[in-house]
């Protein structure tokens, strides 16, 4: 074989160099691919999460709208229908001729009082459920009104303290905030065995802080944090979700024997002052 056919050392160097370049390039490509894939995957997952959150918010918004509509309908029914029937019944009782039978007269008087109480209670309930009425009153007055109803029931003492200049925020936000407060009051009435409820509302320049505290038996919050704990967790999760919907923070602190404290912080209030101390 001719000497010219033998492989020169330069050719070997070229081969090794070319091999090294190809290897480095390919490893570089694979590493780039891995990072690029992870980046795209992260973007995709973030996007999915965002879409899911948006969907959940829209779903919750729809649920709340339906709920408000239902409450409004019930409120109107109570006011226009049941309220009218009871007023008619009261009128009938008032126009009943006087009788000498003392026992019967006493029964009529008792019935009149019961019907009057039912009319007042139903009117209160109707107002409490009525979206427009709550929105017209504003958050503080609506809470005051709810506390007044609780106090009138005679089951517990109530206290409301407002600090700062009350500013009206978005009506829809106020309504949702009020529904959270109502849900908290319902929980206290149903489960807390409390003697008093204390509500503090702090109007700061950039946020409203709402604190509700009771002196009831308290609750162990650990089971509430467990996933799938539908028995305890659903109501609180709903309150969390509602707060999230309006951009508020919801927190709850409680332990057995030490009552329960709920704190809601709603940031970015509009500066539409109500001039209320």
């Amino acid at each position: 074989m001719n000497e010219s056919f033998s492989l020169q050392s330069n050719d070997v160097i070229v081969f090794v160099f070319a091999g090294a370049v190809v290897l480095i390039f390919l490893f570089g490509f694979i590493i780039y691919f891995i990072f690029s894939y992870k980046k795209k995957q992260t973007e995709y997952l973030d996007n999915q999460k965002m879409l899911n959150e948006k969907f959940q918010q829209e779903l919750l918004q729809t649920q709340l709208e339906i709920q408000e509509q239902t409450l409004k309908t019930i409120s109107q029914e109570i006011h226009d229908n049941i309220g009218q029937v009871l007023s008619l019944a009261k009128l009938n009782l008032n126009t009943m001729p006087a009788t000498n039978d003392e026992q019967l007269q006493q029964k009529i008087t008792n019935s009149k009082e019961l019907v009057s109480k039912a009319i007042v209670d139903l009117r209160d309930l109707s107002r409490s459920l009525d979206t427009d009425y709550v929105q017209q009153m504003g958050l503080v007055r609506a809470i005051e009104y709810e506390l007044e109803l609780i106090r009138k029931s005679g089951t517990m003492e109530t206290q409301l303290q407002v600090e700062g200049v009350a500013a009206r925020s978005d009506k829809q936000k106020e309504l949702i905030l009020f529904r959270i407060v109502q849900e908290t009051f319902n929980n206290i009435i149903k489960h807390a065995e409390a003697k008093s409820i204390k509500v503090n509302v702090y109007y700061n320049p950039n946020e409203v802080v709402l604190m509700i505290a009771d002196d009831g038996k308290g609750v162990d919050l650990n089971p509430l944090n467990e996933q799938n704990n539908s028995r305890f967790g659903l109501g609180i999760r709903n309150m969390h979700n509602r707060a999230k919907l309006i951009g508020a923070e919801f927190s709850m602190h409680s332990s057995l024997g030490n009552g329960t404290q709920v704190k809601i912080i709603l940031p970015n209030q509009n500066n539409n002052h109500e001039n209320k101390q």
Binding site: M1, F5, S6, L7, D11, V12, F15, V16, A18, G19, V22, L23, L26, F27, F29, I30, F33, I34, S36, Y37, K38, K40, Q41, Y44
Partner: protein, 223 residues
């Protein structure tokens, strides 16, 4: 049998790969990794025949590769057909196989006879596989096929195909251009080939293990 590192490494890797493949074939590994397992076993069988011819019978063993390359490429086509899953890709892959077979026949008849290495076909096979693996990478990225890329056998398989066959283009290209006419070709080129081939079968084994583990986990979640 072999006292040099490249040969020992290559054959050890191939034997390890074949043992793992047989184990997973018996365990019922799912497609297309059962095809990869079969390919590794067939490769060991083919290499054994080639060695028997050259060491046992002192014969030229190039004939083995003239038959093995199309068979090997058919397996890759079947594997990638499963990976891509779409009809246009299936058609394209089978057309590429037919092209390779036709060119192998032409190459054997007119350029590289059965007694010579079929480097032209090897280069063509390598080019096809590099292109396919790049498209598969594109598919993986565009469709985000896997939750965890590095835990997927398909990713490691594809990465090793890209690496190995890109280097194969270089090796066999260099072989065709420079080494082909030499009586005593430089050993470095073959050593390099043996080492990357050994690496290929080790990564194939890894991808089989990952595919099996992934399949088992999926089975657990589904049940």
């Amino acid at each position: 049998m072999f006292d040099d590192f490249p040969h020992s490494f290559y054959y050890s890797s191939l034997i390890i790969g074949a043992i793992i493949s047989i184990f997973f074939l018996l365990k019922g590994i799912i497609a297309p990794f059962n095809l990869l397992s079969l390919l590794i076993v067939i490769t060991l069988f083919s290499e054994s025949i080639a060695k028997l011819l050259s060491y046992g019978f002192r014969q030229n063993n190039s004939i083995v590769y003239h038959f093995f390359v199309p068979i090997e490429y058919l397996f890759y086509v079947l594997i990638y057909t499963r990976f891509f899953g779409t009809t246009p890709w299936k058609k394209a892959l089978f057309i590429s196989f037919i092209v390779l077979v036709v060119l192998e026949v032409i190459n054997t008849l007119f350029f590289q006879s059965l007694k010579r290495s079929n480097t032209n076909t090897l280069i063509l096979e390598a080019i096809f596989l590099v292109v396919i693996s790049l498209f598969y990478f594109k598919g993986i990225r565009n469709n985000l096929f896997f939750a965890s890329l590095l835990k997927e056998g398909a990713f490691w398989f594809n990465a090793s195909v890209l690496l190995y066959y890109s280097l194969n283009i270089l090796i066999w290209g260099f072989h065709s251009l420079k080494v082909y006419q030499m009586k005593r070709p430089p050993i470095i080129i073959y050593d390099f080939n043996l080492i990357i081939s050994g690496g290929l079968y080790l990564i194939y084994s890894l991808s089989l293990i990952l595919a099996y583990v992934s399949f088992q986990n999926r089975g657990k979640y589904e049940s």
